[in-house]
Symmetry: C2
Subunit: 112 residues, 2 copies
Amino acid sequence: MTAAIDDDLWSAIGDPTRRRLLDLLLADGGGTATTLSDHLPVTRQAVAKHLGVLDRVGLVHATPAGRERRYEVDEVQLARAVAQLASVGAAWNARLLRIKRIAEAIQRTREN
Amino acid sequence: MTAAIDDDLWSAIGDPTRRRLLDLLLADGGGTATTLSDHLPVTRQAVAKHLGVLDRVGLVHATPAGRERRYEVDEVQLARAVAQLASVGAAWNARLLRIKRIAEAIQRTREN
DNA sequence: ATCTCCGTGCAACCGATGGTTGCGCATGAC
DNA sequence: GTCATGCGCAACCATCGGTTGCACGGAGAT
């Protein structure tokens, strides 16, 4: 059931640093590699790389402002990602529920 | 807002092969490294490694059966993981909604 | 009891990725 | 013009996902 096309999206948000990056961008409404690296335990270059992969999958987009490079989240794409999470979660929940029901059924037959 | 403790859980389910592994285990109600590798485009050893990390974070647990090693999903832990997904998704959705509202507010003031 | 097969585990190796340091470049501030 | 600050590029390192190869061990056939 897991869609194969969206593996890129998953691996993008699978990294903890990138998730926090998205958190920061959402909280402050954008930022540059240097300002973001101030709030993270990694160097500016590491942040820049992460912003690169987030940009490649379309979760953020950059706009040159003077000598800075300001990044902002692409809300549509992030909403898509959230939908992905929800979808996989729902699928697993359904399977877990089925297992639970079967277990209960077995329990019931054994009690008879 | 992202919990730091659950990074292991995230990176565990962040890998596409591991996600499909969980899918297969849920569908067939368990399996061994060899049987699982039959349904995946990777070798048995790769599957074994993935099962190892899934075991370490507690999403699956192995029971030796004869000369086989049968793996099954730990439903409680997987439910925890699903809750994590939902939580992060909800947080992002909330932020996105706030941004949308602010944008609409600006729009409204501009229209006056 | 032994031989054979099949599933596992272990080790070495390879490419990609997350992270670092160091440098050079350009652009805005003085 | 000069200075400094933000950026990009390159080299390097560790870890990880994946492979191949091999050695071990238990279940079943002879």
